[in-house]
Amino acid sequence: MLKCSLDKINSVFEEIAKTAKLYIPADDKDGSAVYKQWENGIEWSSSLNTVRSPKDFFLPQMENLMEFKTEGKNIEVIDNRCETEDFVIFGVRACDVKSFEVLDRVFLSEPVDSYYASRREKGVIVSTACSKPSETCFCKTFGISPEEPEGDVTTWKTEDEIFFKANTSKGEALLEKLSAYTEECDETVVTEQKEKISAIMAKLPLKDLKTDAFGGGKTEEFFNNPVWEELSGSCLGCGTCTFVCPTCQCYDIKDFNTGKGVIRFRCWDSCMYSEFTKMAHGNNRITQKERFRQRFMHKLVYYPENNDGMFSCVGCGRCLSKCPISMNIVKVMKKIGDVDA
């Protein structure tokens, strides 16, 4: 275990930024946290988490996949993919680190998505333990440890110090570079903080939320539950929950004609949108009920069925605080699963 005084944190950032693009959560003008590329003057936010999830780093909201040039009847396909530069994301919370695993299972399974894979290989994830979780947090429900998040490097932040532990070779290489600023130390302080976090987690309002009722193979059990009608009744059909969600990965591929050529791009899509499954001759999810059901069934049943029981929710709580009408996965789990918490 290594440690470093928080006074020196900007020097640490500077050191990292010498060889890789560094992104840290920083306060935006309106006070909410957002990942910003570090440069002198950008301060590490004290907020619990960013409004947007860090999935952007691996699956950007919009990216160009390829271009086409057309001339008469001919088409030229231009593959202008390029390797991502090395980058480091600092201060990622336990839930978000886990969300990368959820995305990996989709994008790194065959056939591998080369766009995603390239970024995933070049990115180093530095996580930070959650010393002050919010009432909307329920990562423990999914077996995630906010006391000791995963990631290439795990850090713990106290009043005046920051502690580092490398978990992977990528992480070790990063800490190697920081050796001028860090010193060896024992785990006393970190253990203390972990205990504190555990004590807080036990006080959170959603601490008793369980996933036992859900998982693969439960489609029949939940699909025709009349409660979907009631739950989806207030849903506006906007895409807020899906766009702030770190694990929502559905995308759309569209063409944009620039007048000089055609760009084929990929952008986030939302199963909550009415035209998500609309085809030329029909739509198999006609009302908001079916779309709403799809989102939660996907997270709680379909995804685990295809991924060894892993849920496609990490309990980050973003949808709890951002849904315009406060309908969210916790309310769904409690109602549908009849889980008493």
Binding site: D28, K29, D30, G31, S32, V34, L48, V51, R52, Q61, M62, K132, P133, S134, E135, T136, I200, K203, L204, P205, L206, E230, G233, S234, L236, G237, C238, G239, T240, T242, F243, V244, D252, F256, F265, C267, W268, D269, S270, Y273, S274, E275, L320, S321, K322, P324, I325, S326, M327, N328, V330, K331
Partner: protein, 332 residues
């Protein structure tokens, strides 16, 4: 700090439900933390007693829900409308978006609603309970032993600080006292931006609109946005887009959206309330309202049913677009 109590509303709803005046009640239902209320159709008295809430977090404007709810429901719906909601209610009636006969509207006074983000800025994370105490909120968090006292007035939603009217412009029945239209300062912020240089204005909006994630929450919550199919969703429209790109698409979206509701927007402020990125979208709408007031005379959308929106009207003496700027330059 609402003047009318939750129990009064439950009693009213229960009695209208039991005497058959209405078949369902559109109300707010209890959440997990006291502040996360969700709209819900209540059909039984038991459900009302158990789950209906009325507190300082019932910001949702129910008027828009009436479009879909009356369409799919056979029977009469009781809806509770705050003063600002009644303007949207009228505007939707003007546009024939729902059947008036299917709705029983009860006007309820509103003292303003709380902005959870502002509240959390004071109390910090970890809210476990919120209680009302005179002019204050007592917020219990898991981190503090004693509840934190927060002045209600300090954490109001922007739209409530600049409330334009406490008067209900539509209802079948009114609970509590009728309020008045208020001389608000709602255009001050717009005037402040108008007074900036073009470069400053551009920088301001570039910063705000570039944060947009195109989640469409503003559109889907907006009671004026009731198109069956939005142009931005329609592949045939040629402008369909669902992603911010190069800072153009999101600008286009917000300009066109504000434009499309110009003259019909009642300034209910839902767009800004629901924006996950805290973009002050209401300023775009207020700019249009302010312009319309200045160019074509005072107009409040929804103040009365059937009024003609200024952008679908004209006089032969209207200002030329060029004169708009001349006039402002002289004023400045």
């Amino acid at each position: 700090m609402q003047k009318i109590t939750q129990n009064q509303l439950i009693e009213k709803a229960a009695s209208l439900l039991s005497d058959g005046t209405v078949n369902a009640v559109l109300g707010w239902s209890r959440g997990e933390f006291g502040y996360d209320v969700t709209p819900k159709m209540f059909k039984t008295e038991e459900d009302l007693k158990e789950n209906f809430v009325w507190n300082d977090f019932c910001g949702v404007n129910f008027s828009k829900y009436l479009v879909s709810k009356t369409d799919r429901f056979d029977g009469k719906i009781l809806v509770f409308l705050k003063p600002c909601d009644t303007y949207s209610f009228n505007q939707l009636l003007t546009e024939h978006r729902f059947e008036r006969e299917k709705v029983y509207a009860v006007g309820i006074p509103c003292e303003g609603m709380v902005d959870v983000i502002k509240l959390k800025a004071v109390t910090g994370e970890g809210i476990s309970e919120i209680k009302e105490d005179g002019e204050n909120l007592l917020v219990t968090t898991i981190y503090e032993d004693a509840p934190v006292k927060v002045a209600f007035k300090d954490v109001l939603l922007e739209r409530c600080i600049n409330c334009k009217s406490k008067k209900h412009v539509a209802y079948d029945e009114l609970m509590g006292d009728e309020g008045e239209v208020i001389e608000s300062k709602r255009f001050d912020e717009v005037a402040k931006i108008e007074a900036m240089t073009p470069d400053e204005r551009f920088a301001f909006w570039q910063n705000e609109l570039s944060r947009c994630i195109r989640c469409n929450a503003c559109r889907d919550a907006c009671p004026a946005c009731t198109c069956e199919k939005c142009v931005f969703d329609n592949p045939q429209s040629g402008v369909e887009n669902k992603a911010p790109a190069n800072s153009f698409e999101e600008k286009m979206f917000h300009i066109i959206r504000a434009y499309h509701v110009a003259g019909r927007c009642t300034d209910c402020g839902e767009c800004s309330r629901v924006c996950p990125q805290n973009i002050p979208l209401h300023l775009l709408n207020r700019k249009f309202i302010k312009d319309i007031n200045e160019f074509y005379g005072e107009y409040q959308a929804g103040a009365e049913v059937g009024s003609r929106a200024p952008l679908v009207d004209y006089t032969t003496e209207d200002l030329e677009p060029g004169e708009v700027f001349d006039r402002r330059d002289i004023d400045a």
